[in-house]
C-alpha cells in the first residue's frame, strides 16, 4: 500500500507542479485559467491523501468551480485581454521578480528544513505529532465532516457567526457597486476638481 500511496502522491504532485507552472507560463490567459483548475484539483488530491476529504471537496467546489468560473467570465467579458499574448520575454522586471521569488523560496525551504539539515519527513520544526492508527482508520471510514462540524459549532462558534456578517458586508458592497440608478454616487470634492 505504501508504494501505491507514494506513487499517487508523486503523480499528483507532478501534475500540480506542472499545472502551476502552466498558470504562469501559458501564452494565453484562458489557458492559464484552465491550468489553474487542474492545479486546484491536484491540491484537492493532496488533501485526499492526507485524509482530509471534506477539505478536498470544498477545494473543488469553491476554487476549482466557483472561483475559476468567475475568472473565465471575466476573461470572456473582456474580449481584448483573452487574445493578448501574455508572456513578456525576459524583461528586467521579470528577472527581478524571479530573483525575489527564488530568494523567498530558498528562505522558506531553509526555514522548514531547519537549515537544510533535516529531510522534511524527520523535521521536528513543526509540532507534527502523528495521529494514531485508530484515528487514521476513523478518519478514513467516517470522514472529517462530523469533526469539522462539531468544531465549527463549539470551539469556533464566534468566528463562524461573525463570518455571516462578513458575508453580508461583502454582499452589501457588491449590491451598491452594481446598483443601476446610483447616479449620485459622486465624490463631490474630486468631481469639482476634475471640472476645474
Amino acid at each position: 500500500m505504501e508504494v501505491i500511496y507514494n506513487l499517487f502522491f508523486y503523480l499528483i504532485s507532478f501534475v500540480l507542479i506542472i499545472s502551476a507552472l502552466g498558470v504562469v507560463f501559458m501564452p494565453r490567459i484562458v489557458y492559464s485559467a484552465v491550468s489553474l483548475i487542474l492545479a486546484f484539483i491536484s491540491v484537492a488530491g493532496i488533501f485526499v491523501m492526507l485524509n482530509a476529504d471534506f477539505l478536498a471537496i470544498t477545494q473543488i467546489i469553491v476554487y476549482a468551480v466557483g472561483i475559476t468560473i468567475i475568472l473565465i467570465f471575466a476573461i470572456m467579458l473582456t474580449g481584448k485581454i483573452s487574445e493578448k499574448k501574455l508572456w513578456i520575454a525576459f524583461a528586467p522586471r521579470t528577472l527581478f521578480a524571479f530573483a525575489i521569488s527564488g530568494a523567498f523560496f530558498v528562505t522558506i525551504l531553509f526555514a522548514i528544513t531547519d537549515g537544510f539539515k533535516l529531510v522534511a519527513r524527520e523535521s521536528n520544526i513543526f509540532s507534527a505529532t502523528l495521529p494514531s492508527l485508530e484515528t487514521i482508520e476513523t478518519l478514513q471510514t467516517e470522514g472529517t465532516t462530523g469533526i469539522i462540524g462539531k468544531a465549527l459549532f463549539t470551539k469556533y462558534v464566534l468566528p463562524f457567526e461573525v463570518l455571516s456578517l462578513l458575508l453580508i458586508a461583502a454582499m452589501l458592497g457588491a449590491i451598491v457597486m452594481t446598483k443601476k440608478s446610483g447616479d449620485n454616487l459622486i465624490n463631490h470634492t474630486t468631481k469639482t476638481i476634475e471640472e476645474d
Binding site: L165, A169, L172, V176, G182, N184, L185, T189
Partner: protein
C-alpha cells in the same frame, strides 16, 4: 460554558452591535428613499446605547468568552470604547455626505457598523481564526466603503488599490499564522503561549513573525506596506478616509500589541524589527508629507508618521510603553478626527481639497480656522495640546526603557520637528497668505449641525485631554496593566539570539 453568561460579561457591546446591524439592514430595505436618513438616526442611537453597555462589563477583571475566542480586560475594553467613539464620529461626519447618495444611504451606515464590529472583535481576538475573521470583516467592509462613490475615478482607484494590497497582505499574514500553527499545533493564543516555551526557537518563528507583521503593517500603514494610504485617503469618501486613518488603525494597534506582548515578546529580534519599522515609518511619512499639495494626501502621510510614533511605544515592550500607546491613541483619535471633520466641512461646502484653497480662510471663517489650527497643532505636538502630552508621555516611556533606545528617541524628536513644518504649512495658508483669487471660496461656510458638533466636540476634547492629561494617563496605565508581557530576562533572550546564529 454558559453562552448567555459569556455574552453578558464579555461580548455585550458586540451583541448589541450585531442586533443594530441587522436592524439597520432591515430598515435599509424597508424604508423608502426619502426616509433613508432614519437609518442614520438608528445607527447613531444604537451606537450610543452600545457605548453605554460597557457599564455592565466588569472592567478590571479578565474574562474569556466562547471557548477562549475572545478576551475582555481593561486593555481591550478601552480600545473597544475608542473604536466605538470613532465610529460615532464617523457616522456623524457621514450625515451630510450621504445625503447626496439618494438611493444607497442605509448601506453606507450598515457597512460602517459591520466594519466596527470587526474592529471591536479584532481588539480582543484570542484565537488565530477569530483574529483572521475579524480582520477580514474590517477590511472587506472598508473595501466596499472606499469605492462607495463609484462614479468617481479616484474612488475606484482607491478601492482597487486597497483591495489588491489588502488581499496580498492578508495572504501573507495567513501564511504567518500557518507557520505559528505548525509550530504549536494550536490556534488559541492562550494555548500557543503554553506550548511555545517548549519550542526550540528557530528561523520559522521569525518568518511567522515577519509575515504577521506584514499583515498588521498594512492595517497600520507602516512603511514598507504604506503605499496604498495616500491614494486611498485621497480617493475614498472623506468620512471613510477618517475612519480608516483612525478606527481601523486603532483596531490594528490593539491586535498587534496583544500579539507582540503575548507571543513574540521573549526574543529581542522582534522588538528590533518593530523599532526599524517604526523609524522608517515616521521618517518616510514626515519627509513625504513635506511636499504634498493636497490636504488629504498630506493627512495620509501624517497618519503614516503618527503610526510610526505609536510603533515606537511598542518597540520598547514595557508596561509604560503600552500605556503610552493607549494615551497616544486616545489623543490621536480626537485630534485626527477634528482635522478630518474640518477637511470634510471645507470640501463639502467648496468642493476643494488642495492646500492652496485654504488661503486666507481665517479672514472669512475665524472659528473654523481656529478649530482646524488647534487640531493641526495638536498633531504636530505643540505644547499644551493633547498631542504634546501624548508625545511627551510616549517619549518618556522610551527614554526610561534603557540606553539602548536612545537613538530611537533622538530620531523621534527630529521627526517631531520635521512634522511641525507641514502642519504649520496649512495654518500659514489660512492665516498668513491671502486669497489671491485662485481659490473659490464663496462667502461663509454653512455648516450642518452634525458636522459642527463633531468639530466642536473633537476640538474641545483635544484641549481637555491636554488640560486633564493626568487622569487620562492614569486610565491608560490601568488599562496597560492588564497586558502581560511574557518577557524573559535579557540574558536569556541574548542566548536565544546566539542560538540563531549557531
Amino acid at each position: 460554558m454558559n453562552l448567555l453568561f459569556d455574552i453578558a460579561n464579555v461580548l455585550l457591546p458586540e451583541a448589541f452591535l450585531s442586533i443594530l446591524i441587522i436592524l439597520c439592514i432591515i430598515l435599509t430595505f424597508v424604508l423608502k428613499e426619502e426616509n433613508q436618513n432614519l437609518v442614520f438616526a438608528a445607527a447613531l442611537t444604537g451606537l450610543i446605547l452600545t457605548l453605554f453597555s460597557f457599564i455592565f462589563i466588569p472592567f478590571s477583571q479578565e474574562n474569556q468568552a466562547l471557548y477562549g475566542n475572545f478576551v475582555s480586560n481593561s486593555f481591550t475594553i478601552i480600545f473597544r470604547i475608542l473604536i466605538l467613539i470613532g465610529t460615532i464620529l464617523t457616522v456623524m461626519l457621514s450625515r451630510r455626505y450621504t445625503s447626496n447618495f439618494s438611493n444607497s444611504i442605509g448601506e453606507f451606515y450598515t457597512l460602517i457598523l459591520i466594519a466596527t464590529l470587526g474592529g471591536m472583535l479584532l481588539t480582543g481576538a484570542n484565537d488565530l481564526i477569530m483574529l483572521f475573521v475579524a480582520i477580514e470583516t474590517l477590511s472587506i467592509s472598508s473595501f466596499a466603503l472606499c469605492g462607495y462613490t463609484k462614479l468617481d475615478k479616484l474612488s475606484n482607484e482607491a478601492a482597487l488599490k486597497y483591495l489588491i494590497i489588502g488581499a496580498a497582505s492578508t495572504a501573507v499574514m495567513l501564511y504567518g499564522f500557518s507557520f505559528l500553527y505548525g509550530i504549536t499545533g494550536q490556534t488559541n493564543i492562550a494555548d500557543i503561549i503554553k506550548v511555545l516555551p517548549n519550542y526550540q526557537p528557530s528561523i520559522v518563528l521569525i518568518l511567522s513573525f515577519l509575515f504577521i507583521l506584514a499583515g498588521f503593517g498594512y492595517k497600520l500603514s507602516a512603511v514598507p506596506f504604506h503605499v496604498w494610504a495616500p491614494d486611498v485617503y485621497q480617493g475614498a469618501p472623506i468620512p471613510v478616509a477618517a475612519y480608516l486613518s483612525v478606527v481601523s488603525k486603532i483596531a490594528g494597534f490593539a491586535a498587534l500589541t496583544r500579539f507582540m506582548t503575548l507571543i513574540y515578546s521573549d526574543i529581542s529580534i522582534f522588538t528590533v524589527a518593530i523599532a526599524v519599522i517604526a523609524v522608517l515609518t515616521m521618517t518616510v511619512g514626515n519627509l513625504m508629507a513635506l511636499g504634498q499639495k493636497n490636504i488629504r494626501r498630506l493627512m495620509a502621510y501624517s497618519s503614516i508618521a503618527q503610526a510610526g510614533y505609536v510603533l515606537l511605544g511598542l518597540s520598547v515592550l514595557t508596561i509604560e510603553g503600552v500605556s503610552g500607546i493607549i494615551f497616544y491613541l486616545i489623543a490621536y483619535l480626537f485630534m485626527n478626527f477634528g482635522t478630518w471633520a474640518a477637511i470634510q466641512i471645507f470640501a463639502t461646502e467648496t468642493g476643494m481639497d488642495s492646500i492652496d484653497d485654504y488661503n486666507g480662510l481665517a479672514y472669512k471663517n475665524k472659528y473654523f480656522s481656529l478649530c482646524l489650527a488647534i487640531c493641526l497643532l495638536s498633531l504636530a505636538g505643540i505644547p499644551f495640546t493633547s498631542g504634546f502630552f501624548a508625545k511627551f508621555y510616549l517619549f518618556k516611556a522610551i527614554a526610561f526603557a534603557g540606553l539602548n533606545y536612545m537613538p530611537l528617541l533622538i530620531i523621534a524628536l527630529v521627526n517631531t520637528v520635521l512634522g511641525v513644518f507641514y502642519y504649520v504649512k496649512v495654518i500659514r495658508a489660512m492665516y498668513v497668505r491671502t486669497n489671491n483669487g485662485t481659490a473659490k471660496q464663496n462667502g461663509k461656510l454653512k455648516i450642518s449641525l452634525s458636522l459642527q458638533s463633531v468639530l466642536v466636540v473633537t476640538v474641545l476634547t483635544t484641549l481637555l485631554i491636554g488640560v486633564f492629561a493626568g487622569s487620562f494617563i492614569d486610565i491608560s496605565k490601568f488599562a496597560a496593566k492588564s497586558i502581560t508581557i511574557n518577557k524573559k530576562s535579557p540574558v536569556e533572550s541574548f542566548s536565544d539570539i546566539s542560538s540563531f546564529i549557531r
